[in-house]
């Protein structure tokens, strides 16, 4: 009997969910642009999702019955059970494109570009985010934005052609799911890749290696290390005070988001005013140090964060994530690097023992592990097969020329 009641509730809500997504946003509405950001008209964004009276009655009755008989005792439980449908088999069914197209991005999605992008073996990337109508991102905690349920993000990877598009979605129970869609050679469609075993693709653009598509476990290994699994859409990454020395930084183009535009258009609320007035900028001693710390934030900070933020940061005493609320953030990061003893040791006798040895990049573990692609040694540990020479040059320049031995914190 309980199962039957549960099924009624699931069926009623599930149908409503699918309708809701198909109906939004309205592609016939005109878009406008403020601050170079493509926006959804406010009168549309603030409109509640359409719900027919009949479906509402059915859902309400089912919800009450379900809440009475199910042990969770919360209506969230109903939502959790109801609107979690299997991942679509095709990327074109995830809501990224206008219907019938695999190239034209659906109106209402917002393109964005983090100022410190993740190195992915030179892949060219494009990114988009979707929020359900009437919803917003709560920035009360400036380092851990709260994304509304129903948030979706896509990241497209190209190496000569489109290879894969990664997809993140926040579900109605508050959890996140991760998937990758692999493009066919013709570029006409991308299909859901295996969640269990990462696929590999031979590309004519990079004949010397096979391109690796991550498994779901791989996705979670990086994304779930941080307090919030959305890594490139944050206060520092979208600061209008962009770092011109950031390796592989993509120039901001019209239509892409930054903090001010997000707030102006209602995508982002409760961001502290002082952050809006003084956009996040890493307080470094030199431009090279700023870019180096920014690179580490974007490429390493999701695993090397504050231990208390998620409980999932790697317990090695290295902090590489910046805190936009803390003026001392850069110094705190530097203290875990400069002169700090590395727990990781190579077997050779003359190996580097400090994470960063001022003035001596060749004796510093940080660039050594960035350069290595031995899977036991390399950093980051997954997601790349070739080292990032541009970033390595920056890090070594910073260590050799910007850091003096006097800054060594060890006696």
């Amino acid at each position: 009997m309980f199962s039957a009641v549960a099924l009624i509730a699931v069926g009623a809500k599930s149908g409503a969910h699918h309708r809701k997504f198909r109906e939004s946003p309205n592609p016939t509405k005109k878009e406008s642009s403020v601050g170079g950001v493509t926006i959804i008209p406010p009168h549309y964004r603030n409109r509640p999702a359409p719900v027919s009276p009949k479906s509402f009655t059915v859902r309400l009755a089912a919800a009450i019955t379900f809440a009475l008989v199910m042990p969770c005792g919360e209506l969230d439980c109903l939502a959790a059970q109801a609107s979690i449908s299997p991942l679509p088999q095709r990327l074109s069914e995830t809501g990224l494109f206008v219907e019938g197209s695999t190239t034209e991005i659906r109106p209402g999605l917002l393109a964005f570009s983090p100022q410190y992008p993740l190195w992915s073996d030179g892949a060219i990337k494009r990114r988009w985010i979707y929020l359900p109508p009437g919803s917003f991102i709560d920035a009360s905690q400036p380092n851990a934005w709260e994304f509304p349920r129903g948030t979706r993000l896509w990241k497209e990877f190209s190496l000569g052609r489109r290879v894969e598009t990664r997809f993140i979605e926040r579900l109605s129970d508050g959890s996140w799911r991760f998937a990758a869609y692999e493009w066919n050679e013709a570029g006409s469609e991308a299909v859901l890749a295996s969640s269990e075993v990462g696929a590999s693709v031979q590309l004519s653009h990079t004949p010397e290696r096979r391109y690796a598509i991550p498994s779901e476990s791989d996705c979670r290994a990086c994304h779930e290390g941080a307090a919030v699994p959305v890594l490139g859409f944050s206060a520092l990454q979208l600061s209008p005070d962009r770092d011109l020395l950031a390796p592989h930084a993509e120039p901001r183009v019209a239509g892409q988001a930054d903090l001010r535009a997000l707030v102006a258009q209602g995508w982002l609320r409760n961001l502290p005013q002082k952050i809006l007035e003084n956009p996040p900028r890493i307080a470094a001693a030199s431009p090279a140090e700023r870019a180096a710390l920014g690179y580490m934030h974007g490429n390493c900070g999701h695993c090397h964060g504050k231990p208390g933020d998620s409980g999932a940061s790697v317990p090695v005493g290295v902090l590489l994530a910046q805190d936009v609320t803390d003026p001392e953030s850069a110094d705190k990061v530097l203290r875990t690097l400069i002169g700090a003893s590395s727990r990781f040791r190579l077997s050779s006798a003359d190996d580097a023992k400090q994470i960063v040895a001022p003035g001596e990049s060749h004796m510093s573990m940080l660039p050594l592990r960035m350069r290595s692609r031995d899977t036991r040694v390399q950093m980051p540990p997954l997601g790349t097969q070739i080292s990032d020479t541009e970033a390595l040059a920056l890090i070594e320049r910073w260590i050799d020329h910007d850091l003096q031995p006097a800054r060594n914190s060890q006696p």
């Binding site: 476990s217 979670r220 231990p307 409980g311 999932a312 040791r345 077997s347 899977t375 036991r376 540990p381």
Partner: protein, 198 residues
């Protein structure tokens, strides 16, 4: 005894036996309503039981030679491959079904993946699990990655089996590991396989 009372007594007895059998088969089952929740001591005891029967000591506690052959050196319980034991290069095996070699301590293993050394599971802050969170531990066993996010954990660690452990069992194991004596022992990093086999 009247027949009715005899039936009741028999049924009650059977019910008690049945309940005892169910409990014996599943001692970790949820307590009955109103029962006290499992204490931290219970959790540590459960963890000790799991660590013991799951064979963690087999590889993470070094073996020493005893009067009847190799036996676990419990003075170094669960502290992993001894830092002081520098291993020479692993012997090269001929082609054939023999694939792996192990140190006499059972804490270093060589195979096609290179050489792996068993980890220090004691709560030492610098060389063991002293700074780990429960989340770190669960992520490690579930993902098969070092710290839950880093390199893949190497053979012979039976991640393909252990990753199926229930959350409460992983919590119990972690509670126990955090309760044992901390031993400072910096285990070497794994070594790559010989160039010829890479």
């Amino acid at each position: 005894m009247k027949p009715f009372h005899l039936k009741v007594s028999l049924l009650t007895g059977l019910a008690l036996i049945g309940a005892a059998a169910v409990y014996a088969a599943n001692p970790s089952a949820a307590p009955a309503p109103g029962a006290e929740p499992a204490s931290a001591t219970d959790k540590v005891a459960r963890g000790k039981y799991l660590v013991t029967i799951a064979g963690c000591n087999d590889c993470h506690t070094p073996l020493k030679m005893g009067p009847n052959g190799p036996e676990p050196d419990m003075s170094r319980m669960l502290s992993g491959h001894p830092e002081s034991l520098k291993m020479p290069p692993a012997p090269k095996l001929p082609e054939g079904p023999w694939l792996m070699t192990a140190a006499a301590t059972n804490t270093a293993w060589a195979g096609p993946w290179g050489v792996s050394f068993t980890a220090n599971l004691t709560p030492d802050k610098e060389t063991g699990l002293g700074q780990w969170t429960l989340r770190n531990f669960k992520d490690t066993i579930r993902s098969g990655r070092h710290h839950g996010r880093g390199r893949l954990i190497l053979p012979p660690m039976p991640i393909p089996m252990y990753k199926h452990m229930m959350d409460e069992d992983l919590e119990a194991v972690f509670s126990y590991l955090q309760s044992i004596p901390a031993l400072s022992n910096r285990v070497p990093e794994p070594l790559p396989p010989p160039v010829s086999s890479q």
